[in-house]
């Protein structure tokens, strides 16, 4: 529990939070999001997150930006042209949020430059191919050697930091990092090989 003066500060800030929250809810309630729009928004979540992560490789920051982007996309539901390219539109909004974030935290955090945001292409994160990639990834994950599976589980499922994993498996951070590097390369290589077969099976 925080000291009481911090609680009062939180309460003070919280009144603003409540107003903002209620405004957001009111907007959403008054202008219900069409089902088709909602479906499109859901379908691009993974690729949108991957795009954001490519430019803000800190997962906490990427999740914050994803939330902000989704908020804007929901508020702008009425502005969307159904004949337009939804993913491109969503990615543009995400890019603006990312660049604003980079500018805001330029001095306090290390990150990529704005130029990279201009260079990363939307088509590199095509949501339509993610289902195939996901299935291939699952196959490849099962083929990982056993000693790699435990490290992978600790990092990807249990979201442990390298420091935590290093303590748990009693290995230096450097060797854990090296193993994760090999896991990622192995999976990427395997997925690349499996995709044609998975595509063929999905077409059948």
């Amino acid at each position: 529990m925080q000291p009481s003066y911090l609680n009062k500060l939180a309460y003070g800030n919280n009144r603003i939070d409540k107003i903002v929250a209620r405004t957001s809810i009111k907007n959403v309630e008054e202008e219900a999001i069409p089902f088709e729009y909602s479906r499109k928004l859901t379908s691009i979540q993974r690729s949108l997150y991957a795009y954001i992560l490519s430019l803000l490789p800190n997962r906490s920051d990427a999740e914050d930006i994803l939330q902000e982007t989704n908020l804007i996309l929901c508020k702008k539901a009425k502005e969307y042209n159904p004949d337009g390219h939804f993913q491109g539109w969503a990615f543009r909004i995400a890019r603006y949020q990312i660049m604003a974030h980079m500018t805001k935290y330029r001095r306090s955090k290390i990150h990529f430059s704005n130029e990279l945001a201009e260079a990363m292409a939307e088509e590199d994160f095509d949501s339509t191919s993610l289902n195939v990639t996901q299935k291939a990834l699952q196959l490849c994950y099962d083929l990982l050697p056993k000693h790699m599976q435990s490290i992978a589980r600790l990092r990807f499922k249990e979201e442990k930091t390298l420091k935590d994993i290093s303590s748990l498996v009693n290995r230096p951070i450097g060797s854990v990092s090296a193993t994760l590097h090999r896991i990622r390369r192995n999976l990427l290589h395997c997925v690349h090989q499996k995709i044609p077969r998975v595509e063929a099976e999905m077409d059948m």
């Binding site: 991957a50 929901c74 990150h111 130029e115 979201e159 990622r184």
Partner: protein, 344 residues
């Protein structure tokens, strides 16, 4: 060869970046590589996409064993457990000991050792014993929806069995016939996300939800209290009444959150696996008004022979909206657990 070497450097720097151990010069070099050619950019995008799938798709890609869990039924005054649709939990890598946690089970630890020895043979240093701490026992119950929460309950029971009166993660209260391990204080937060505590200056915040893309569910379960009633006279029958208030933070898009309060009775020898003797649960769908708290109660006639009672709360979202981020939080307050006894 040069292309492969360049990919090697790109892959290494990307891996360091994704593990958040890259330096400023690493990031600068990585950016140079990414922007140097289309193939480099695509390679980087592929690695990041893979990473996002590995973290996001926790229900499918990463688990090794899949269980088909029957759909959850909501029943108001049940005696026995109800099934819950939830994320598949993987705990096998930690192993289980059939003996006292203070003696350990060398056979179980050996199987983990072989894993580490194989890892060590890849040339990462001297052959040291692993620092795994396997769970001392399991809880055989369908009420626990994830391994994290089951680990918490196991730790609580292990502490109560040890007779310790303190814990870093909870408060231990000793009454005449029973001892309560209470975690609510450690989950307490002040007002946030548009929610004011119902009672006092703090409220319980549940951990972040975990998403299962395949079943389109997002859920979190928190063990709040574990009551040790082994000291209760067998001549007495007992009943537990639990009550809790629930609320959820504001979201920008509609999300229907279901809360469930459950009480489970467990039995088992010290250091041994625990079996469920029965459970009760009660659920409601939360409204979107942060100004109001909703109340859930659950009453349970404790089965004879019960050793521990576990009080937990679950928050769950089902359907496509479960895939959208839910940073607003789920909250509980005013947990009241009343334990009463009477002669049989």
């Amino acid at each position: 060869m040069k292309k492969y070497d360049s990919f090697e450097e790109l892959d290494q720097l990307t891996s360091k970046t994704l593990d958040e151990i890259a330096t400023a010069s690493d990031l600068k070099r990585l950016e140079e590589l990414i922007t140097s050619s289309k193939s480099m950019r695509k390679r980087y995008a592929s690695l990041v996409t893979q990473e996002s799938l590995l973290h996001w798709e926790t229900g499918r890609v990463v688990d090794f064993e899949e269980e088909t869990v029957p759909k959850r039924k909501i029943i108001n005054f049940p005696i026995f457990a109800s099934a819950a649709a939830a994320i598949v939990a993987l705990v096998s890598a930690w192993g289980f000991s059939k003996q006292s946690p203070y003696g350990g089970n060398t056979q179980q630890i050996s199987s983990n050792n072989s894993e580490i020895k194989q890892f060590a043979s890849m040339g990462f240093g001297e052959d040291k014993e692993p620092n795994f701490q396997p769970l001392p026992f399991t809880i055989e119950s369908t009420t626990f929806s994830d391994s994290r929460n089951q680990s918490i309950a196991v730790s609580a029971i292990e502490l109560l069995e040890s007779g310790k009166s303190f814990d870093d993660e909870a408060i231990v209260q000793i009454d005449n016939d029973f001892t309560t391990w209470d975690r609510t204080e450690h989950l307490t937060v002040p007002a946030e996300n548009g929610i004011l505590p119902l009672d006092g200056a703090g409220m319980i915040k549940l951990s972040d939800m975990v998403v299962n893309v395949d079943t389109q569910t997002a859920s979190v379960q928190e063990t709040l209290q574990v009551v040790d009633i082994r000291g209760l006279s067998p001549l007495l029958s007992s009943k537990i009444d639990a009550e809790i208030s629930l609320n959820k933070g504001a979201t920008a898009y509609p999300q229907s959150t279901e809360f469930e309060l459950s009480v489970e009775a467990l039995k088992g020898e010290v250091g041994e696996d625990k079996q469920s003797m029965g459970s009760t649960s009660n659920a409601l769908i939360a409204d979107t008004d942060q100004a109001t708290w909703e109340n859930l109660t659950s009453s349970f006639v404790v089965p004879e022979g019960t050793d521990f009672l576990v009080v937990s709360v679950t928050a769950r979202i089902e359907g496509p909206e479960s895939l959208l981020p839910n940073p607003s939080g789920n909250y509980a307050d005013s947990l009241r657990v009343h334990f009463s006894t009477s002669a049989r």
